[in-house]
């Protein structure tokens, strides 16, 4: 067990959250989200306005998303301690979390394709834009499964000194519930359940980043505790 490496992976969370937010917000201007009701011309105009800035923002968002894998690994190592070995929940989390990282990277690549040739037909740019947003928010399933796995592992931790406090298990279960409305963007182009709506964009975004930071604190505590016990 290498505590330094473990802490390295845990601290990657801070880097990810900061860099991802910089890419999303001031650079790519994807906060708030484009309206699903925007016309092809409006969307094309967005991509044509400052393509280099858009490309940089997307590059940054995609570039730091690999760090999610490191964080997932850190959670895996903590869950190994909860389950006393590579239990099935630990493996579920590992695989679901890894899939989740993919769905942060691929939308950025799709949007990059749109920004790569902003002069193409607006209909095509609209298509790529739609695809990106759908790919970012709709795959709630891996995040839900990942969080449920963590929740169940925390609650099922029967060690004398639990790896994490029990409320974290319930927190993860609650976070899982909050990701579910993201899937409903498929039915709506306006309102709170559209991809720029409060229940699909704002709440999952805030919840995801908040969960990241809470888990960061707890993972760090857990790693230091395990190092002391070893």
């Amino acid at each position: 067990m290498n505590t330094r490496n473990e802490l390295l992976c845990i601290w990657s969370a801070v880097l990810f959250v900061v860099v991802f937010t910089i890419g999303l917000w001031p650079l790519a201007h994807f906060l708030p989200a484009h309206a699903p009701t925007a016309s092809a011309e409006d969307i094309a105009a967005l991509y044509q306005a400052r393509p280099w800035q858009m490309r940089l923002g997307l590059f940054v968002m995609m570039g730091c998303s690999g760090l999610v894998c490191a964080f997932v690994a850190a959670i895996t190592v903590a869950m190994k301690r909860m389950e006393n070995g590579l239990g099935v929940l630990t493996l579920t989390q590992l695989s679901a979390g890894t899939c989740g990282a993919v769905f942060l990277i691929v939308p950025c690549l799709v949007w990059t394709a749109a920004a790569f040739r902003p002069e193409r037909s607006p209909e095509l740019t609209l298509l790529l834009n739609d695809l990106g947003w759908i790919m970012l928010f709709m795959p709630f399933t891996t995040f839900v499964v990942q969080n449920i796995a963590i929740g169940l592992a925390v609650l099922g931790d029967r060690n004398a000194v639990p790896e994490m406090p029990r409320w974290v298990g319930f927190l993860n279960l609650w976070v899982a519930v909050l990701f579910i409305p993201g899937g409903f963007l498929t039915f709506f182009k306006t309102g709170p359940f559209a991809w720029n709506g409060v229940f699909v964009y704002w709440i999952p975004l805030v919840v995801f980043l908040g969960w990241y930071l809470v888990m960061f604190v707890l993972l760090r505590q857990g790693a230091l505790k395990a190092a002391r016990a070893a």
């Binding site: 609650l155 298990g169 609650w174 709506f188 309102g191 709170p192 359940f193 409060v198």
Partner: protein, 191 residues
């Protein structure tokens, strides 16, 4: 089984962690309620007219079922506290029965609406109607699972842990009841 709850010292029902979930859920639904009300205020006529198509009797029946199931769970907890485990299990079964009826009524109600041509995307009111009652229904189903789990957990000899588990699950179920109480008022009774 008399009620001697008057002078107990402060006691947290269930375990601390479950309240993170319950309060979080109540916060989320509070956001849903407020967003619903805000959007409603922008097009009151639409909402009032759409509300007229709702089956008020199903709504009222469901409220009765929710309240009754909550009562059954509360009685079950009292029974568990007095170590009348089988009686507690019986009351849990009664609660589960009410919950199942709730689910059946909901499906009847949904079928009736869909058959009449009202779906998730018909208009804003029906979007909220299906989304909010749908999310609530998911909680009812989850709650049914929790009640089942509580029934099984009562088979073992009681311990401090088992009472806490019973209270945790019961608290979750009562939350589901509270959410329906507000939803019934918002979706069926506003004018």
């Amino acid at each position: 089984m008399s009620d001697n709850t008057a002078h107990r010292p402060p006691h947290l029902p269930g375990e601390t962690g479950v309240w993170v979930f319950i309060l979080g859920d109540m916060l989320m639904f509070a956001a849903f309620f407020i967003v619903f009300m805000a959007y409603r205020s922008e097009d009151v006529a639409l909402y009032v007219n759409s509300q007229r198509t709702l089956n008020q009797h199903f709504g009222a029946l469901n409220t009765f079922l929710m309240l009754t199931s909550s009562w059954c769970v509360a009685v079950a907890v009292e029974a568990g506290r007095a170590d009348h485990r089988q009686r507690a299990q019986a009351w849990l079964v009664a609660a589960m029965g009410c919950a199942l009826c709730f689910v059946v009524v909901k499906f009847c109600e949904y079928s009736e609406k869909i058959a009449a041509g009202f779906t998730l995307t018909t208009n804003d009111f029906f979007m909220y109607y299906f989304m909010l009652t749908g999310l609530h229904l998911m909680h009812v189903l989850l709650g049914l699972g929790v009640l089942c789990y509580l029934w099984f957990s009562l088979r073992a000899a009681p311990s401090a842990d088992s009472m806490r588990t019973l209270e945790s699950g019961a608290s979750f179920w009562h939350m589901v009841d509270i959410l329906w109480i507000v939803l019934f008022a918002l979706l069926y009774l506003l004018r």
